[in-house]
């Protein structure tokens, strides 16, 4: 695809993003691709809402989808070194036996400790709230892994050769959930959200009061994990 073709493609997908039903009425939750050349905007904040009542124990469709989407396919000698961009956690209340299951990943904190401690500026928060590692300048010190209260980050211990062209990752750098930034920029949802058979995850713009996610957060009780840390997480949970 030549550069011009690609531009055309981006422009076309931007057009598809917004489906008009009637003048002024738009289908909700159809994300829009950002036109080529335009930076991420701080008028948006991407977030996710996980309904733990819907999330099924034993299901890990989101974890598999994440691995496929992000080219996580390396064999690691020590399972403790495996990349964990998203993991399933089963919780049980010992007092009453209530059990539930939920996916845990980078919470895309508005006040991210990983960014605070990074000595190089590699850990960074994009204008639209997505927290990323700039591997070009990450020195692999792993301070951020220690600082993250959610154990959301992994370190790549071995050379990689089978990456997804859209998701560069490699030896000596720390990595974590990117909220599928390469998909979001094209107007798509993160792979885990799309793969969940229970529809337990909602993705959208927390700053847009008309988005599905913002309305649900306004109407129902939702939780930030470790809200006491006041990190203002972009990933919220319902039913825990």
């Amino acid at each position: 695809m030549s550069n011009n073709d690609r531009r055309g493609f981006l422009a076309a997908s931007a057009g598809l993003g917004l489906v008009a039903i009637a003048p002024g009425v738009h289908l909700m939750q159809v994300a829009q691709a950002r036109p080529a050349g335009e930076p991420a905007s701080k008028l948006q904040r991407w977030g996710m809402l996980v309904d733990t009542a819907k999330c099924a124990t034993g299901c890990d469709a989101c974890v598999s989808a994440c691995a496929t989407e992000n080219g996580i396919n390396e064999k690691v000698a020590d399972p403790r070194q495996a990349a964990q961009w998203i993991r399933k956690i089963d919780l049980k209340d010992p007092k009453n036996g209530r059990q539930h299951s939920l996916p845990m990943m980078c919470q895309h904190c508005a006040e991210p400790p990983c960014v605070d401690v990074c000595p190089t500026g590699a850990s960074m928060k994009r204008a639209d709230g997505i927290v990323l590692v700039d591997r070009h300048i990450c020195i692999g010190c792993r301070y951020c892994m220690m600082a993250c209260p959610y154990k959301a980050r992994s370190f790549v211990h071995q050379p990689l050769t089978q990456q997804n062209p859209e998701v560069p990752r490699g030896l000596g750098c720390v990595e974590s959930c990117t909220l599928c930034v390469h998909r979001v920029d094209k107007g798509q949802k993160p792979a885990c959200v799309e793969a969940c058979p229970e529809g337990a995850m909602v993705f959208g713009d927390l700053e847009d009061p008309n988005s599905d996610i913002a309305r649900r957060i306004a109407q129902t009780a939702t939780t930030q994990v470790r809200a006491d840390l006041k990190l203002n997480t972009g990933v919220r949970y319902q039913g825990i």
């Binding site: 690609r6 089978q162 560069p168």
Partner: protein, 126 residues
Amino acid sequence: MRRAATFLLLGVLPWLTFSAWAGDSVPKPTIRIATEGKCIAPAEEMRRNHMDMLKHQRDKTLRQGIRGEKASLNGCIECHAAKSTGSVIGHDDSFCQSCHSYAAVKLDCWDCHQPKAGYKATGVKP
């Protein structure tokens, strides 16, 4: 007379040495371009400035989220991946590797970026 001889010597000798040096005995990088003539800038400019173009673009794309920039590493390999291997590295005549080993400049990009054009990655749940 003596002065003229020195002049001649000074003038001719370097030329002689240079022409001998610039002859066929000098190893040159083998550059094979799979799809020619579609580059975003003339070859001369690309040879000198591709690293700056890509560095500028990578920061804009990763840190600001600007997509669809003219310079793009994935764009490079669409044309420059060898037809035989599908890659820009791996052999002495692979597009990136040939020049970089000639100039003895370490090639870091492909430690993280996928060097094969049209590569479909798989996933194995960790």
